[in-house]
């Protein structure tokens, strides 16, 4: 092992994106020639990533001393990508990699979930059109995502940022024959790109202030107070705009529920575990800077809070199994941003990790259900635990993790967030967040009950259903395991067991390493609220779910509001149709009528008309012509007379 660790370490982080890129290229060009359209290449790529990630973790461990990580320069691999130099002036865009603890958390999530999803997909996508293409794009996505989390340069991070967006676009639109998929892909791309406008502006603003794209340089400059506070606030808010788009925070969250048009494993990887947490990653990376600009941090906090609550409430009524999970994802991302907003970077990253496992698990489980029944509306499912025991069991584990039931991974991370909030901000934030946790437990319970318990509501689908093949259940089981135990990683003992001196907790606590501790008071409150949620869910939705239907009539307006997602999609659509396209119509009209017909054609016609009038001076009659001459003489002689 030491031999290899010398050759493969943080310096070789570029291998991470390189391997799946190679897979992508080979599959996309030669998939027709390869057996199984080259899916094994994607899996090999993922395995390689996992391996390299492990090496990197080992290497990274070596830089832990004095209670802190000091990877420093040894970590950076760089070459000049763009270089413009003149006297006293250097404009440099480097390609560089930089690994820190935050990256490593992301790497773990990506490599494990990526591998699981790839294996799962071989079963799930079996026999589909564009099977190979799917794996190619999956590889592309992983490559971009890895580049995103390892890049030390903002420009390359932005490149990867857009790259994951592209992969997301391609995967959402994988079933492009469905108009809805095409529309969803478009919506996702455009919405995230609106956020990216902010991101790019933020990057450029930071460059303008520091003259560098290197993240460490920028952080150093910003924390040392070189940049004016207002300027920095604007720049950091602009960065956050990018995070809002990518991580589906209010008000740009609208694309994520629609993104469920894509293949379910892809949703598991992209729209649950990895890509959507890119925003969290970004803010976490810049967390030292956000320590300085508190206004921006408050914005993050309240955005996250609002998103968490709104998404959870929408999750209560959603009927599509994947959409419920999507709303849950949005909500959980909100939790992470709340954590970032209060400065609890470690808590946020911890939640990123656990969430990646249990949410991927849930998505893959839902995929298994959909694969088996061909239906994804919960109203038409039910009782599936008999038909799909493994799926049901793992799904329930995932749900318990999501709901925050103790022992399961989600409990620890969510508790950490609640704890951080309680110690930091006003009680209001804590109350809303705890309430959201309650809501989470409610809709999670609802989902599980409607899908796996009760009587089957669509008999034919139920009869049709069967347990999924092992290629799908195996990842489920593995992820179920992780969803159960990953919460324990933060305990020092566990860390030491795995050979991490000081525990894995140090990985996620980048700047203020402290051992994970649990405040049992808060923990019990969280536990109680989660259990209450589960009970409420049970009461309403077990069996025939009459209460739930009654509740619907209790406040139809509220129900409609939630089902229609607060009418935000309609609002946006209205803005696009009325305002944007209206403006475009005005501009197009202006171009057609004023610039083109009046300006250009009109000008030409005017000249032509002038010629047309003038030609009638040519009467064909000699005396008229002579009159012209005489008039010419008169005019000229009067002119000279006037001059003389």
């Amino acid at each position: 092992m030491p031999d290899i660790s010398v050759t493969i370490g943080m310096q070789q982080a570029w291998l991470l994106p390189a391997m799946p890129v190679v897979a992508f290229l080979i599959i996309s060009f030669f998939r027709k020639l390869l057996p199984r359209e080259g899916d094994f290449l994607a899996i090999i790529g993922m395995l390689g990533i996992l391996l390299v990630t492990l090496f990197i973790i080992v290497d990274f461990q070596g830089f832990f001393h004095d209670g802190e990580f000091h990877p420093g320069e040894a970590n950076v691999y760089a070459f000049d990508w763009v270089r413009i130099s003149a006297d006293n002036f250097l404009f440099l865009i480097e390609f560089s990699t930089y690994i820190d603890a935050i990256s490593i958390v992301m790497l773990i999530a990506i490599s494990i979930v990526g591998l699981m999803v790839a294996i799962y997909s071989t079963g799930y996508m079996q026999g589909e059109d564009r099977y190979g293409w799917y794996f190619a794009v999956l590889s592309l996505f992983v490559a971009a995502m890895l580049l995103l989390v390892t890049s030390g340069s903002l420009v390359w991070m932005y490149l990867a940022w857009e790259g994951v967006g592209l992969a997301s676009y391609l995967l959402i639109g994988h079933y492009w024959e469905r108009q809805s998929a095409a529309e969803a892909a478009k919506k996702a791309f455009i919405t995230t790109r609106v956020g990216d406008v902010g991101l790019l502006i933020g990057i450029i603003l930071l460059w303008k202030a520091t003259g560098s794209f290197d993240i460490q340089t920028i952080i150093a400059a910003a924390t040392s107070g070189q940049i004016g506070e207002t300027y920095l606030t604007v720049a950091m808010l602009a960065l956050f705009a990018g995070a809002v788009g990518k991580s589906a925070q209010f008000p740009l969250h609208v694309w994520l529920p629609d993104a469920m048009e894509g293949p379910t494993p892809a949703s598991a990887l992209i729209h649950a575990a990895t890509m959507v947490v890119a925003g969290v990653y970004l803010i976490a990376r810049f967390s030292p800077v956000y320590e300085v600009v508190l206004v921006a941090r408050d914005v993050i906090l309240y955005t996250g809070l609002l998103t968490a609550f709104l998404a959870a409430s929408m999750g209560l009524v959603a009927s599509d199994i994947k959409r419920v999970l999507a709303f849950s994802t949005i909500s959980q991302l909100g939790f992470m941003f709340v954590a970032l907003g209060v400065g609890a970077v470690g808590a946020a990253m911890f939640h990123v990790l656990t969430h990646a496992f249990f949410k991927a698990l849930l998505f893959l489980g839902s995929g298994s259900v959909i694969h088996a029944t061909g239906r994804q509306e919960v109203e038409y499912l039910g009782g599936l635990r008999h038909k799909q025991p493994i799926t049901a069991a793992t799904f329930i584990i995932g749900s318990l993790a999501l709901a925050g039931i103790p022992i399961f991974a989600g409990f620890w991370s969510k508790d950490e967030i609640l704890h951080a909030v309680s110690s930091y901000a006003s009680p209001f934030v804590y109350i809303v967040l705890a309430g959201t946790a309650l809501l989470t437990a409610i809709y999670t319970t609802r989902l599980v009950l409607l899908t796996f318990f009760g009587d089957p509501r669509d008999r034919s689908a139920f009869d049709h259903a069967h347990e999924s093949p092992s290629s799908m259940t195996l990842p489920l089981l593995l992820l179920g395991l992780l969803a159960t135990v990953s919460g324990f990683f933060v305990f020092d003992a566990v860390g030491n067991l795995f050979g991490f001196s000081g525990g894995i907790g140090y990985l996620v606590y980048l700047h203020h390493p402290h051992s994970f501790h649990i405040d049992w008071a808060f923990a019990s409150v969280a536990t109680v609220s989660s259990l209450t949620g589960v009970i409420i869910g049970w009461v309403y939705w077990h069996g025939g779910a009459e209460r739930a239907i009654k509740a619907r009539t209790w406040s139809p307006d509220l129900h409609a509001l939630l089902v229609n997602r607060y009418y935000l999609d309609e609002l946006y659509q209205g803005i696009i149709n009325r305002v944007v396209l209206g403006l475009a119509g005005i501009v197009a009209w202006f171009d057609k009528k004023i610039v083109n017909e009046t300006g250009v054609d009109g000008g030409a016609q005017f000249i032509g008309y002038f010629g047309y009038r003038l030609k009638f001076l040519q009467t064909g009659k000699i005396p008229n012509y002579a009159l012209g001459i005489a008039a010419g003489i008169l005019v000229l002689s009067v002119m000279v007379l006037a001059r003389a």
């Binding site: 270089r83 940022w161 529309e183 790109r193 502006i201 475009a584």
Partner: protein
């Protein structure tokens, strides 16, 4: 680049002209011969262009590969070296020469399927090509302008004879507007000659000669208006959508891909390099016009349904970035502008190639008429999506690297403009994605079941462009290392 490489520059002008002359001699019936000749000549031009680009390396001198032959001197107004056939390139033109080589190659290939008077088409097409190369490599103002107009000369017939839809209108409008655009250039050239008063059109001499500041302030806007017309600058862009909509595939490719860049390049060479003080003075106005064009084109494009009209307005928008970059008058923005010329040239050529490949079969370009085209033409659709991504500035493709330089350049002096420019990129995304979602995805319309996939020739052509887009997008330093040092020679340029 050694002085003897100047012969390659001359070859770039002579080759297409020679091809045109050879074509004149070949009887029209000999299609194979015509195809063979054009294949060879386009390939040779491509490789010479690549060689010229590779051979150029910045060594501190403004122009390289300079070869000069006295043409008319010591006669009348003209003194020593009055008019000379002088070639030479700097980093800007090196990259534009390469662009031309890349675009003309597939342009030639896709034209082989023309049935109607193929020979005449190629004669005119190569005259156009010679003109474009001439503008880039010639260093004598007389020959420069000659080449400039030569590039416009065949446009009318190329569009009006081989075009489609409102071809007569489009051709006439394009021709007249572009010729009208050359009026101020004409005036500026004359004035420059008279102002310097050395009796020479040698651009190197004119560049280094001192020019009155007021003179520069008066004539820089003329150059901008004139060259801006060819570069489809708002409000002189009106020919662009109609002209592109009417033009045949290869002509659209070369015109949008290269000829529009000739306009923007004119602003660099005649404007910024010749009259730096004027450029500094008028920079803000150019930026304002550029950003207006960028937004205006993008917003107009939202409402277009004809694919080529869409591309026309898209070009207006993208060229708007170029003018923003040029107007910033700092080295990053201007480098970005030149990169954007190349990037937009490649990307728009790809677009027009693809649209042409489909239009030849369907005779319909109206987006709402299509749906689910990806079913009938999957490879074509992949290319189209790729082109769209390049157009909307996806990082890793050519558009991004250019745009990011322009944005940065703009932000340095005009943060609001920079912000608007970034916003324009989002609008670009919107109209392209709308088009894709509407016409390329969704359920296939059985009406178009008869459409066939692109031919292998078209695929190869598209592949050449795709490769170039990727190369520029992922590894831009060969371009930047040539462009930026040359531009930083402009006196008074902000770093």
């Amino acid at each position: 680049m050694t002085e003897n490489d100047g012969y390659f520059l001359i070859a770039l002008i002579v080759l297409p002209l020679l091809s045109a002359v050879c074509l004149m001699i070949i009887p029209s019936k000999e299609r194979t011969l015509i195809v063979g000749l054009t294949a060879i000549s386009s390939l040779v031009m491509f490789f010479v262009s690549v060689y010229v680009f590779m051979a150029y390396s910045f060594d501190g001198s403004t122009f390289q590969g300079v070869k000069s032959y006295p043409w008319v001197e010591n006669i009348g107004l003209l003194g020593e070296n009055g008019i000379s056939l002088k070639v030479g390139i700097d980093g800007v033109t090196a990259s534009l020469v390469l662009l031309t080589g890349i675009v003309v190659l597939p342009g030639t290939w896709v034209s082989w399927k023309i049935q109607h008077r193929l020979k005449d088409f190629f004669i005119l097409f190569y005259i156009l090509t010679a003109g474009v190369y001439g503008v880039f490599v010639l260093l004598d103002l007389f020959f420069w302008f000659l080449a400039y107009e030569t590039a416009l000369l065949p446009m009318y017939l190329l569009i009006a004879v081989w075009g489609s839809t409102r071809k007569e209108y489009g051709a006439m409008k394009l021709m007249m507007m572009l010729m009208a655009g050359s009026i101020p250039i004409f005036a500026a050239i004359f004035a420059l000659f008279a102002e310097v008063g050395l009796g020479t059109f040698d651009m190197e001499v004119l560049l280094s000669a001192s020019k009155d500041e007021d003179f520069q302030k008066i004539f820089f806007p003329l150059v901008v208006i004139g060259c801006g017309t060819l570069g489809a600058m708002f409000p002189f862009h009106s020919w662009s959508p109609d002209g592109h909509a009417a033009a045949p595939t290869a002509v659209s490719m070369v015109h949008a891909g290269v000829l529009m860049k000739v306009g923007a390049f004119g602003i660099v060479r005649l404007g910024a390099q010749m009259m730096p003080e004027g450029a500094l003075f008028w920079g803000p106005a150019l930026v304002a016009l550029g950003i207006t064009a960028a937004l205006y084109g993008a917003i107009s494009a939202l409402r277009q349904t004809d694919m080529k009209m869409l591309m026309g307005f898209s070009s207006v928008s993208h060229m708007g970035y170029v003018f923003v970059g040029l107007g910033t008058m700092n080295v990053i923005g201007m480098t970005g502008a030149v990169l954007q010329m190349t990037a937009h040239g490649l990307m728009t050529a790809l677009f027009f190639l693809l649209i042409g490949a489909m239009y030849d079969q369907s005779h319909n370009r109206d987006l709402p008429n299509f749906s689910g085209l990806a079913k009938q033409m999957p490879i074509w659709s992949v290319f189209f999506v790729f082109a769209s991504l390049a157009s909307l500035g996806l990082p890793g493709l050519s558009g991004f690297i250019a745009e990011v330089h322009i944005f940065i350049g703009a932000f340095r002096s005009y943060p609001i403009v920079g912000g608007l420019a970034v916003l324009t990129a989002a609008i670009t995304t919107t109209y392209l994605m709308r088009a894709l979602a509407q016409s390329f995805f969704g359920e296939a319309n059985p009406k178009w079941d008869s459409l066939n996939e692109m031919t292998w020739i078209e695929r190869s052509g598209a592949a050449v462009l795709v490769a170039a887009i990727l190369l520029l997008g992922l590894w831009p330093s060969p371009w930047i290392d040539r462009i930026a040092p040359s531009l930083s020679q402009i006196p008074g340029l902000m770093m």
